[in-house]
């Protein structure tokens, strides 16, 4: 039943012989086709749910004291770094280090205003002009730490190197600043894996800068920030959401709130539900157009960063939670009551049994090698590739 057989030869528009194999399609989205589904009865009252969401957000938001502490530390470190850029002359042993800094940028949840309480960590990305060796990272860490100490000797600062040498952390008693190191674009291809930091890490740090810039321009709506915080909290509590990266959550929240026919921000309760609906409808499944990364060229769908198994897991968890939510289990979902077992175990809501789902993903069976034609064929047909292009 391939194309040629059922192609009409009669009049009507003729489609060229070239056909695009795989066009990702957005999944069903109730918000986008509201007009096709007029309400049969008035929407249920969701004020309790909304209140719960807002309360949860308030619980998750950092306290003013935390904010002040982290702001304080960030400001100091930023000042030290700026000094290193502006005045590379004030060096002793680290001469080359100070000359190496191209740019310092705040990124991540601190920059975006989506920080969560109890996680008082701000991220800063330092772009070096030089190739980022492990020693350079260390030396920079020491230098910054020394300068800070020189400014305020009485403060207790702890310098910790991050795993994979991706950067370092400077923390005082209340806050932590994570300094992530990367290098300018031109240097990326000169990297030697033996000597320098992993290219993937460096690229992710560069991407973090783009992300925070995008966020600033597009996602400053405060509902989005609230939703991101709630989603992050969700991710922390439900194992199945673990594969979702903060960036995916940012994009998902932005999408859920702003991508609607009226282009007006949805209220938080609808948006939260919509997130689960989108995930449950397979927004992040193979074959879905998903959300393409606004900060990368080439139309990369963000969810392809997850493995197929992870995509299955995320979708499954969202599907179960959606059903729990629709049966009134929002308190458990928000973590105000109960625990995360609702995502993985059977639960009863108002006499309705909500059962957990099973994984659908199966590892593809080994194919005999001589069958590679078919194999390739399948790969062609396969809309399941984890990455496009």
């Amino acid at each position: 039943m391939r194309g040629g057989m059922i192609r009409p030869m009669g009049p009507g528009p003729h489609f060229g012989p070239k056909m695009k194999q795989f066009v990702p399609r957005l999944p069903f989205d109730m918000v986008l086709c509201e007009s096709a589904f007029p309400r049969v009865k008035a929407a249920p009252d969701e004020s309790a749910f909304t209140q719960a969401l807002l309360k949860r957000n308030a619980d998750l938001s950092p306290t003013p004291a935390e904010q002040a502490a982290v702001l304080n530390l960030v400001t100091k470190i930023q000042a030290v770094m700026d000094n290193l850029i502006v005045d590379p002359g004030n060096f002793d042993a680290c001469s080359s280090i100070s000359q190496q800094i191209e740019e310092v940028r705040q990124v991540g949840s601190y920059k975006k205003g989506t920080m969560m309480t109890g996680h008082n960590v701000a991220d800063i990305v330092v772009i070096l002009k030089t190739l980022p060796t492990k020693e350079a990272v260390e030396a920079l860490g020491k230098k910054v730490c020394d300068d800070l100490r020189a400014q305020e000797p009485q403060e207790v600062l702890v310098l910790t190197m991050l795993p994979n040498d991706r950067g370092f952390e400077i923390s005082n008693s209340e806050a932590t600043v994570r300094v992530l190191v990367t290098t300018i674009h031109q240097n990326l291809r000169k990297l030697d894996p033996e000597l320098h930091l992993d290219q993937k890490i460096l690229q992710s740090h560069l991407a973090a800068i783009r992300h925070s810039r995008w966020f600033e321009e597009n996602a400053h709506h405060s509902t989005i920030k609230v939703l991101i915080r709630l989603l992050r909290d969700l991710r922390g509590r439900f194992e199945g959401f673990e594969p979702l990266s903060p960036w995916m959550l940012d994009l998902l929240a932005h999408y859920a709130i702003l991508n609607n026919p009226s282009r007006q921000a949805l209220p938080i309760n609808s948006a939260f539900r919509r997130c689960l609906q989108l995930l449950a409808a397979g927004l992040f499944l193979p074959g879905s157009a998903g959300i393409s990364d606004p900060c990368e060229g080439g139309n990369i769908r963000v969810h392809t960063a997850m493995t197929l198994e992870q995509q299955d897991l995320v979708c499954l968890t969202a599907q179960t939670l959606l059903r729990v939510l629709s049966h009134g289990g929002y308190k458990q979902i928000l973590g105000l009551e109960g625990n995360s077992s609702i995502a993985s175990e059977m639960s009863v809501w108002d006499g309705v049994v909500v059962s957990a789902l099973e994984k659908a993903y199966e590892k593809p069976p080994e194919r005999p090698p001589q069958d590679d034609d078919t194999d390739n064929m399948d790969a062609d047909d396969d809309p399941m590739e984890t990455t496009d292009n």
Binding site: R2, P13, R25, P27, F37, L131, A280, R323, H327, L357
Partner: protein, 930 residues
């Protein structure tokens, strides 16, 4: 040959008897002369004239030609003449007079550029040295030792480093000679010479000179003094015996040979040199270290003891400097003149002069050397990569450079290392690619490297270009692909505008006045796929083909339905005749049309009919349910008809119809046997055929009046009272009416929607197959499918459409809190799925959610309850075509560049030849482009 000049000078010096008895310099010249003389040449004649002036130097003239290269001749030529002149000048005689003779000058110049020199010399001879603008007049030194520094100073100021020559001529008489020399040196970049250099310079010019230089030998014999001092090695020996031994010794010989070979500064470009010890240092630090060192101190002491001049500790830069000559009329060389690059302390010792070499024609090198020198005081880099290794006491014992993986014990060495080229290169490579590291100084090495670099660049360039081309191509392909799709879309939209709701295939075949709807609309819907079917599509299509009823089944159903319809018509006629014999056979036709009539507005039309006259009891028969919608599946054996009655259907009416129907059926289809049952509680009668296939037709009696009554409940209380006592079940009647409306809705909405009917059939099958889905009534399911698929806003292939339905369910379409499925066929807002309980909704949703993920992960066959379909076989054909073509093209590619064009042509042909395969192969190409 420079050195021949020098030797001449030396000769002169010797002749003057400067009193420096131990001076070995004097010896060498003679040696050289002899050797060189061997190679006599045409130049001799030229020289002879000059030589003639000073008899002693005739030999010198003779030697000159031995410098083989003609280019060098030029230089040498002028010089030798000068040397000769110098010698002449030195010969105590009136040098002026000698130079004054123009004849000599002309004699040797013969079209030589250096001829000018001679004129200069004449001037020089006149003690004026005015000919050169830049040449400072170096005051002749009168005493060897004492005036030395002064001379040095003078020389230092001079742009031309004349000092070596000045040094050589030590007597007062030299006053005359000296300027001459200076000019001479300023000439073609030659350096210098000195005792040891003769051979040396020679060799430089000869390029590893082939002429064996025996001159050293004669130099060796010492002039015994109270001190036995070896000038080559800069040591003193205790006695003649040891001295001799020293001279015979390995060390001395080595040094001598090294001296002969000449300093090899070119390897490192500029280097610093301690004149006193004849030690070349690679850098300022090394030099400083040397000066501080014991060896140097010893030599200094020795020299002090000897009363020899001690040059300043300022280093001598070796490697030369470049200078573009000022080509004034008086100057010697038209081109550049390079002078030995002694910047500072010209040494009084002859030995000192040996070091200075100029490499002529190596201008580039020299420039680099300068650069090099500048960079000697670069910032040390990469301190942070040098690890301090401490012993257990915490004292730093050594350093380890992590970049270069080397160790040093000395802090000085560490410093040096950090400035060093190797380290800097490593730093550049591993840390900061922007660090400027000096280019390798060696000409050849540099050339090689440049060559290498260029080749690499070329290669990179090529790859880059290739990559770019590839990207471009890809981009282009994408562009055209997008463009094509866009155009398709436009075309499609146009189409839709012209034929609303019609599929983009053949225009809808149903003219408005068609008496009956197609029996099974859209069997396998011949809708063109916008995209080739994916794996999902193939599965859905296969499943659909599987569940679609067979031809004979359809035929059987068709038969019984049409027979029943005909019979019912006749029953209606019969009843009409009985009730009102006036009315003839006009009505039946109207009855048939009625099937269309209610589509528009059944209530009204029926009302109109009523007014026509005495109402017919049975107004018409209509197909509803799967029969009307074309949703019959394989194995379906029950279809529905609805008979619209003029008044509320009663049990009496049902009985009358049931009684008459068998008779009429026998008339319509005498050969078939039908069994008719009354199901009063269903307000229906069932017609069943008696045969292999038991097909039952449910005929429900209903009347629009039932609904009218319901709608105008307030007014109709009177009519309700009027109801005959045996009226049939109201709800059943209403259901039948609803079914009628559903059928109409379906034909209006779902039939035209691409993939929709197919998906509904598939879901019908699912509802029958899977118990979880059983509770989902078909009307809700149809409604949902239509809404979900229509709301996509684009045309979906069957696979996509099915997936979208599951997506909708998975996102909670049926769950509490959702908008619900508003029934368009009811006046009041009613959820079409309202019969579902909460648990059923939950279960269906969960099932759909799992199904969705199964579809996403390529297991749609599990959802459809079928075996997975391997990729179609003829796909391979397409593949092979492409493969073959590929092979061919490689064959073609060999003969010409035009292979590409051929390939394309071939491709076109291929695609024209087999349309089927074409789709696949081109699709593959596309996929590859990804």
């Amino acid at each position: 040959m420079y050195w021949s000049g020098l030797s001449a000078a030396a000769n002169a010096a010797a002749a003057y008897q400067t009193g420096q008895t131990g001076y070995p310099v004097g010896h060498t010249p003679t040696g050289t002369y002899t050797t060189q003389r061997a190679a006599g040449s045409t130049y001799d004649t030229g020289y002879q004239t000059a030589a003639a002036a000073a008899a002693t130097h005739s030999t010198a003239a003779g030697t000159y030609p031995s410098a083989a290269a003609s280019a060098t001749y030029d230089y040498g030529y002028g010089r030798t003449t000068q040397t000769a002149a110098a010698a002449a000048a030195a010969a105590y005689d009136s040098s002026k007079t000698y130079y004054a003779q123009p004849s000599t000058a002309t004699a040797y110049t013969g079209a030589d550029t250096h001829y000018h020199n001679k004129t200069a010399y004449t001037n020089a001879g006149a003690y004026t040295t005015t000919s050169r603008q830049t040449t400072p007049v170096v005051t002749p030194k009168t005493s060897y030792t004492s005036t030395y520094p002064g001379a040095a100073a003078a020389a230092a100021t001079a742009t031309y480093n004349t000092s070596p020559y000045a040094v050589q001529t030590t007597t007062a008489n030299k006053a005359t000679a000296l300027p001459v020399y200076m000019q001479q040196t300023s000439q073609p970049a030659t350096a210098v010479a000195a005792v040891k250099t003769p051979g040396n310079t020679w060799q430089t010019f000869k390029k590893q000179g082939t002429v064996p230089n025996k001159t050293q030998k004669p130099k060796a014999p010492p002039k015994p003094q109270q001190l036995h001092y070896c000038d080559v090695c800069k040591i003193s020996c205790a006695g003649p015996q040891t001295y001799r031994e020293h001279l015979e010794g390995q060390k001395h010989k080595k040094k001598e040979a090294a001296a002969k070979a000449g300093p090899t500064p070119s390897r490192h470009g500029a280097s610093l040199r301690c004149e006193l010890c004849d030690v070349t240092c690679t850098g300022a630090d090394a030099y400083a270290a040397h000066i501080r060192g014991a060896k140097h101190q010893k030599v200094v002491k020795l020299h002090q003891k000897l009363g020899k001049p001690i040059p300043s500790t300022d280093p001598v830069v070796v490697g030369g400097t470049t200078k573009t000559s000022t080509t004034t009329a008086g100057t010697a060389v038209g081109a550049k003149t390079t002078t030995s690059g002694t910047t500072a302390a010209p040494t009084g010792t002859l030995a000192a002069t040996t070091t200075t070499t100029t490499s002529d024609g190596k201008k580039d090198d020299l420039k680099e050397d300068l650069l090099d020198l500048k960079e000697k005081d670069v910032e040390p880099v990469g301190q942070e990569y040098i690890e301090e290794i401490k012993n257990e006491e915490g004292k730093v014992i050594s350093f380890n450079c992590k970049l270069c993986e080397c160790r040093f014990n000395d802090p000085n060495a560490k410093e040096m290392h950090m400035k060093g080229r190797r380290h800097r290169l490593q730093y550049k490579k591993k840390v900061n690619p922007e660090l400027v590291v000096e280019v390798k100084p060696s000409l050849r090495q540099r050339k090689l490297q440049e060559e290498k670099l260029r080749r690499q660049q070329l290669r990179e360039e090529m790859w880059r270009r290739r990559e770019e081309e590839r990207l471009l191509e890809e981009e282009e392909r994408w562009y055209w692909e997008e463009r094509r799709r866009y155009e398709e879309e436009c075309e499609y939209l146009d189409w839709c505008r012209r034929y609303p709701r019609g599929p983009p295939g053949p225009p809808p075949m149903m003219p408005p006045g068609m008496p009956r709807p197609p029996f099974m609309p859209g069997m396998p819907p011949m809708m063109p796929m916008r995209r080739p079917d994916s794996s999902d599509d193939r599965h859905v299509l296969a499943k659909h083909a599987e569940i679609y009823p067979k031809e004979e089944e359809l035929g059987a159903i068709q038969k019984i339905v049409s027979n029943t319809e005909k019979a019912l018509k006749m029953v209606s006629d019969y009843l009409a005749e009985v009730d009102a014999p006036k009315e003839q056979h006009i009505k039946p036709k109207a009855k048939k049309e009625k099937e269309e009539v209610p589509k528009d507005d059944d209530d009204k039309k029926d009302g109109d009919k009523k007014e026509d006259g005495p109402p017919r009891m049975l107004k018409g028969v209509m197909r509803v349910g799967i029969l009307a919608k074309g949703l019959l599946l394989r194995g379906d054996a029950s279809v529905q008809l609805v008979v619209l009655c003029g008044d509320k259907p009663t049990r009496t009416l049902l009985d009358r119809v049931a009684d008459n129907l068998p008779k009429q059926l026998a008339v319509v289809a005498p050969e078939d046997k039908y069994d008719i049952q009354r199901v009063v509680e269903e307000a229906a009668l069932v017609v069943q055929n008696i045969g292999e296939q038991r097909i039952s037709v449910n005929v429900t009696l209903t009347s629009p009046i039932m609904r009218e009554q319901l709608l105008h409940d307030g007014d109709s209380q009177v009519t309700a009272v009027k109801d005959p006592p045996d009226v049939l079940d109201k709800q059943k009647c209403l259901d039948a009416l609803a079914a009628l409306r559903h059928a109409k809705w379906f034909q209006a909405r779902a039939n035209g929607l691409q993939s929709c009917v197919m998906v509904i059939r598939i879901l019908r099958d699912l509802c029958q197959r899977v118990p979880t889905w059983g509770p989902l009534n078909s009307w809700a399911m149809e409604l949902m499918c239509e809404k979900v698929i229509a709301s996509a806003g684009q045309h979906l292939s069957p696979g996509d459409a099915l997936r979208r339905v599951f997506e909708a369910l998975a996102s909670g379409l049926l769950l509490p809190g959702s908008p619900g499925l508003l029934d368009p066929c009811e006046k009041d807002p009613i959820d079409a799925a309202s019969p579902l309980s909460a648990q059923e909704r939950e279960d269906i949703t969960a099932s759909a959610q799992h199904a969705l993920r199964l579809i996403a992960f390529r297991q749609i066959h599990k959802v459809l309850g079928m075996d997975p379909i391997p990729p179609p076989k003829f796909q391979r054909g397409g593949r092979f075509t492409r493969k073959r073509r590929r092979d061919n093209s490689t064959g073609e590619g060999n003969d010409s560049e035009g292979g590409d064009g051929k390939k394309d042509k071939k491709e076109d042909e291929d695609s024209k030849m087999d349309m089927d395969k074409d789709t696949n192969s081109s699709k593959h190409l596309m996929v590859e482009g990804h």
